[in-house]
Symmetry: C2
Subunit: 124 residues, 2 copies
Amino acid sequence: MTAQRRVVAEVLDGEHVHLTADEVHARAVTRLPEISRATVYNTLGELVTLGEVLEVSTDRRAKRYDPNAHHPHQHLVCARCGAIRDVHPAGNPLADLPDSERFGFTVSDVEVTYRGVCPNCASA
Amino acid sequence: MTAQRRVVAEVLDGEHVHLTADEVHARAVTRLPEISRATVYNTLGELVTLGEVLEVSTDRRAKRYDPNAHHPHQHLVCARCGAIRDVHPAGNPLADLPDSERFGFTVSDVEVTYRGVCPNCASA
DNA sequence: ACCCTACACTGGACATTGTCTAAGTCAAGT
DNA sequence: ACTTGACTTAGACAATGTCCAGTGTAGGGT
């Protein structure tokens, strides 16, 4: 555990939002001015491997990092402003895929992204 | 309808697979050698706007384009080789999101990606 | 037929995101 | 103190996508 890794972990834990790698880097720099992008990427990658943090890809621009890794959840994304909310749908989407639709795959995971317009954007 | 757009449409229609923009461009070049990347991107964007083609983002590298836009379906992706299959889960995932989990959003769409290991990779 | 205009296309520069590498730094063990 | 190895840094590089200025080109109006 180095100062750099601690700072990255603190940034993620401090704000329960979904930050991009560059946003994490920007916030980390305010606490540890000389931390490099490579270290942030490396550390985020390690946190993902350890299962402490989830990678989320709600748009096709940058990956985002979700510190809420220990509660299974899905995401609801505003198509206009990109806001992201964690949501908890009823049921288990994995159960909705019958064997006949698995083509011999060993299916281990499912990722659900709801898209819509948030109240802010709808009223604007 | 120009020669360039026809070629892009033919490439997508010809092979029912999920091509990246660059793969579309590579195939288009064999038929129309001087077609530019920008035109392929523009044309793909227009096809997406028209609803003729879907953008799929199964990995974080390149967007892929799915000509099967008129049959709602989801995707099953191999975590090792990246192979993509169209699948049709039972039920409607949109119905699984209760009002209490919508936070005032107008939810219009849902995207489901199953992940697993395909038979080929599992036996290797 | 000839110009004019609007649109599409081209090629390349640019932006964003992420990965890689060579070299530097630091701490622990010998 | 020296060696070793892990970590960090800075920057080059790669992949993908977007933008823009200049160049066709097709069709309408004369």
